[in-house]
């Protein structure tokens, strides 16, 4: 299952969902990415990534409350699943191994 590595943007989205914990839904993820990672994805990029992650089983979603300012439409709350967590861990370890011993040479350049 975890043989496939996560893409950069997929990782960012998963991390943002984790950081938001219970309050993670599309717009909040977007704000989090903008505030923390300095990246403003287009709606197209963000929501297709969310759909893809859900289809891969890395996140799951549930309907939430509707409100007036949302035109009566429910929020779609997001949660990282167990396979999602392990995929993140897998990617992180791979990256850290690759980074290992390179920090010094990076500083020198």
């Amino acid at each position: 299952m975890t043989s496939e590595f996560l893409g950069e943007f997929e990782q960012m989205v998963l991390l943002a969902i984790l950081r938001l914990d219970e309050g993670a839904y599309g717009l909040a993820v977007r704000d989090e990415l903008e505030a923390v990672a300095g990246r403003t994805p287009s709606s197209g990029a963000l929501y297709t990534t969310l759909d893809r992650l859900e289809r891969k089983g890395l996140i799951e979603s549930r309907g939430g409350e509707a409100s007036v300012e949302r035109g009566g439409r429910p929020r779609r709350y997001l949660k990282v699943t167990a396979p999602g967590m392990s995929a993140l861990r897998h990617s992180r370890e791979a990256l850290l191994r690759l980074w290992d011993s390179l920090e010094a040479s990076l500083d020198r350049r």
Binding site: G7, Y25, G26, L27, R30, S42, S43, G44, A45, Y47, T48, L50, D51, R52, R55, K56, S61, G63, A66, S67, E69, R70, G71, R73, P74, R75, R76
Partner: protein, 868 residues
């Protein structure tokens, strides 16, 4: 209240695209929430724009299948992957992409516009029903009614022979205001030959042309809709035309103002031999429809026989050799002859421009491909075969060409309207709609051609590089791509040569001395009702009072009146007999007979060479004094005194001599290009001309003076309708015909082409220098002279340009032959035209090469080598 929710129609469409599930609802809710937050800080337009963009990205991602199956290297279909890649690559450099799309859009749009006008004009249905058998007969001048009646009796090759003339009419359009309309006075038989026939009532019938019955009129579909409210009961009602009530007998069907494109009225032409203008007024165009089976030669023979017959019958008027300039032309061809050359020229010019622009864009794509050569090499190394990479480059350019074509479609319609509007009145220009198969096909082919150039440049470069193994693909080569520079400078040269020739032609036209000063002169056409003719006293009083009042208008410095405005209408000819050397009428010198008032000479600033002009004392019903022009003075009295001599100008009173009181300078009356012939000026009152024009010199423009003139005429005699009011300079400009418009447009195209070619050369060399950084660095490090290096780069650019210019010259020489009939006073390609164009193109190339060459010369070798 301000709207705080997203634009409903976009939201609805988005909802349809996203579907009803939680995923779609969540997205829509998020967007609505974000919109609301943004709306409290930003203006509504910006928020709507943002929302539209977000919706677009959502739909685009979905359409491209990104939301589909998990991404993998081999899963997606290759085409979708290529398109995705192309979109991403294009969006990575938005400014470049925008530039490409705009350049292509302008190029494709303008080309399609020119083609649609070309297609529309050449395929417009003829004005005549039997277009292939309809001829325009021209004995070297317009017909008189008298001639027409003879010709109609004698001609044998035609099943219908008729005549028409165009006039401007003042029409009471019902709401109390007077509209100025274009009308055709034509013989009923000819009316029946028109392609468009009445949809309501009837057309002009033979009984309408019986003297006394002529108070009928047929109106156009457009006029009926615009001014008569499309009332089906309009047939049988009255319409006031030039102050006379006429009965509307018919309404034409839609789709035809003919002859001309904006004819709104058709009036019967009455052949009444008692009419004083029956013989002298040369104002009719003759049109004949051949009998089935007869050919153009038979029509020509009829016209020749007619001219010979006139010479035999009226030796007084028609001397031997008359009719040598007679021509017979297919009517359809006649309708289009005026615009053929200009439109073909424009088409060629815009196509050349499109090629130049596409080459530039192709070069930009090449530069981008080279920037990406690392990426391409990686793909190749990962196993992408050559075909795959070529296909990707092709897809990328196809995407750009497609979006460019879309932009072109937006540009094309307004451009075609503007183009059609540029041509002078009287030149028949039509447009084909966008759904016309030919136009659609042209747009598609042009886009395809643009795409092939766009794709061709980077693909060819890639393939050339790949042949020697991919590692070296797109590695620096010794010289910049020559073909591109050569093609561009050749095309720019051809366009410049054409523009220079046209400028020369128009300059020659402008150099023609008109003989009068048209600046600040406004001409108002007057058509007093026919009963004025029976009361000459009233006519004279009206004319004198009107000129008097017009002189007193604010800003007016002079006013006068004439029966024929120069370059607008040609007055009839009359034979001239000199006292003391009487000749038969047929051998007498012919002169144009202008009927003018004393103010005419002042308002047009006509130069008086000898004697005086007409005065207010010449007011009897027969001419008592005459002014002649220089051409007539030289013809009659070479080297001698003209003033004081007496001439006779009435063939029916060949011995009634009147004194010449003055000689004035020649003026161009009929056309700009024909040398002015002999002319005489007689007092307006003595000729009793009904249709006249008031000329006023004054500083306010026609818009200001127009209303003043109308009011003045209404004050002097409310029964007299005012026709068109035009600045005399406008009439002169129309006489330049299409030369003026064509010069302007082609000149603009040529300038644009030169600038684009220069940009292209600049880009090619910049790119070349960038690719050769390493080599340049090595050379500099080894001690090469910077000056030599700069010279070498400049030389490579300028040499290619020079080859292009030479090629352009060769093409231009062929073009001159095609253009010759369209040029005035420009016999061929003057050496200076060659030199000028060459200088312009080479100068642009030097300028374009200078920057990249200098940049190369300033490269710090150490840094270059380290970077490599």
């Amino acid at each position: 209240m301000r709207r705080r929710t997203p634009p409903r129609w976009i939201e609805a469409r988005l909802e349809k695209a996203l579907g009803p599930g939680l995923g779609g609802q969540g997205v829509l809710g998020d967007l609505a929430e974000a919109y609301g937050r943004m709306r409290s800080r930003r203006r509504g337009v910006l928020c709507d724009l943002w929302y539209s963009w977000q919706a677009l990205t959502l739909v685009a991602h979905r359409a491209l299948g990104r939301g589909g199956a998990p991404r993998s290297l081999h899963g997606a279909s290759p085409l979708a992957a290529d398109v995705r890649w192309a979109v991403r690559v294009s969006l990575r450099r938005p400014v470049l992409t925008l530039g490409v799309v705009l350049t292509l859009g302008m190029g494709l749009g303008v080309n399609t516009a020119v083609f649609s006008v070309l297609d529309g004009t050449f395929r417009a249905t003829s004005w005549w029903e039997a277009a292939d058998r309809t001829l325009v007969l021209w004995p070297g001048h317009a017909f008189t009614r008298g001639q027409m009646s003879i010709f109609t009796q004698e001609a044998t090759a035609f099943e219908t022979l008729g005549a028409y003339r165009m006039e401007t009419y003042a029409v009471n359009a019902g709401d109390g205001r007077t509209a100025s309309l274009s009308g055709a006075v034509m013989t009923p038989a000819l009316f029946r030959s028109l392609r468009v026939q009445p949809a309501l009532g009837r057309g002009l019938a033979p009984e309408d042309a019986v003297p006394g019955n002529e108070r009928t009129v047929v109106v156009s579909h457009g006029f009926w809709q615009r001014n008569l409210g499309g009332d089906p009961g309009v047939v049988g009602t009255r319409l006031e035309v030039n102050g006379e009530p006429r009965t509307i007998v018919g309404v034409q069907g839609p789709g035809g103002g003919a002859p001309g494109t904006a004819t709104d009225l058709w009036l019967p032409l009455v052949m009444d031999s008692r009419d004083p203008d029956f013989w002298p007024a040369y104002d009719l165009v003759a049109v004949g429809v051949l009998r089935p089976g007869e050919d153009v030669a038979a029509g020509q023979e009829d016209l020749r026989r007619f001219c010979a017959g006139l010479t035999a019958r009226f030796p007084f008027f028609f001397r031997p050799g008359y009719g040598q300039q007679a021509t017979v032309r297919a009517a359809a061809e006649q309708e289009r002859a005026l615009v053929r050359t200009p439109l073909l020229l424009l088409m060629g010019g815009t196509l050349a421009l499109l090629i130049i622009a596409a080459l530039n864009v192709g070069n930009m794509l090449l530069a981008r491909a080279v920037e990406r050569r690392g990426e391409l090499a990686l793909r190749r190394a990962l196993g992408a075969n050559r075909g795959r990479i070529v296909r990707q480059l092709g897809t990328e350019s196809a995407l750009l060409a497609l979006v460019g074509a879309g932009a072109g479609a937006v540009v094309a319609a307004p451009a075609a309207v503007a183009l059609a509007g540029l041509f002078p009145a009287g030149v028949s220009v039509m447009r084909s709609g966008w759904t016309t198969p030919a136009v659609a096909l042209f747009a598609a082919l042009a886009s395809l051609a643009a795409w092939s150039v766009l794709a061709g440049v980077p693909v060819a470069s890639f393939l050339v590089g790949d042949r020697s193994g991919f590692r070296t693909a797109m590695r620096p080569r010794g010289s910049p791509p020559r073909a591109l520079v050569v093609t561009q400078s050749a095309l720019a040269t051809v366009l410049l040569v054409a523009a220079v020739l046209l400028v020369g032609s128009v300059r020659n036209l402008r150099r023609i001395p008109l003989g009068f000063d048209a600046r600040d002169v406004t001409a108002a056409a007057l058509s007093p009702p026919a009963d004025f003719l029976r009361d000459r006293g009233r006519l004279r009083q009206f004319q004198e009072r009107l000129v008097e009042e017009a002189r007193g208008l604010p800003g007016a410095t002079a006013a006068g009146m004439t029966a024929a405005v120069p370059l607008d209408a040609l007055p009839p000819e009359t034979p001239v007999n000199v006292e003391g050397r009487v000749v038969p009428v047929g051998e007498a010198v012919q002169a144009r007979r202008f009927a003018v008032d004393p103010g005419f000479f002042e308002v047009l600033a006509l130069r008086v060479l000898d004697g005086r002009v007409l005065g207010s004392s010449e007011r009897g019903s027969l001419p008592t004094a005459v002014v002649i022009n220089r051409a007539l003075a030289e013809a009659l009295f070479p080297g001698g005194e003209a003033v004081g001599r007496r001439i006779a100008i009435d063939p029916h009173a060949w011995d009634r001599f009147i004194p010449i009181v003055g000689v004035v300078e020649n003026l161009r009356a009929g056309s700009l290009v024909d040398a002015p012939g002999p002319a005489i000026y007689v007092a307006l009152h003595e000729q009793a001309a009904r249709e006249t024009a008031l000329l006023v010199r004054g500083e306010s423009g026609p818009a200001g003076i127009g209303a003043l003139l109308r009011n003045t005429v209404a004050r002097v005699d409310p029964a007299v309708p005012v026709g068109s009011i035009r600045p005399l300079e406008g009439i002169v400009r129309d006489a330049y015909g299409t030369a003026w418009v064509t010069m302007g447009l082609l000149g603009a195209l040529a300038l644009l082409a030169t600038v684009l070619a220069a940009l292209g050369i600049h880009a090619v060399l910049t790119h070349h220098v960038a690719r050769q950084r390493r080599e340049i660095g090595v050379r500099l490090a080894l001690g090469a002279q910077r000056a030599g290096l700069v010279a070498r780069i400049m030389r490579s650019g300028v040499t290619s340009t020079a080859i292009g210019v030479a090629l352009g010259w060769a093409l231009a020489a062929g073009l001159v032959r095609l253009l010759r009939s369209f040029l005035f006073g420009v016999a061929g390609l003057a050496p200076w035209a060659f030199v000028l164009t060459a200088a312009a193109v080479v100068a642009a190339a030097v300028l374009a090469a200078w920057l990249p060459a200098m940049r190369a010369g300033r490269l710090p070798p150490a840094e270059v080598l380290r970077a490599e």
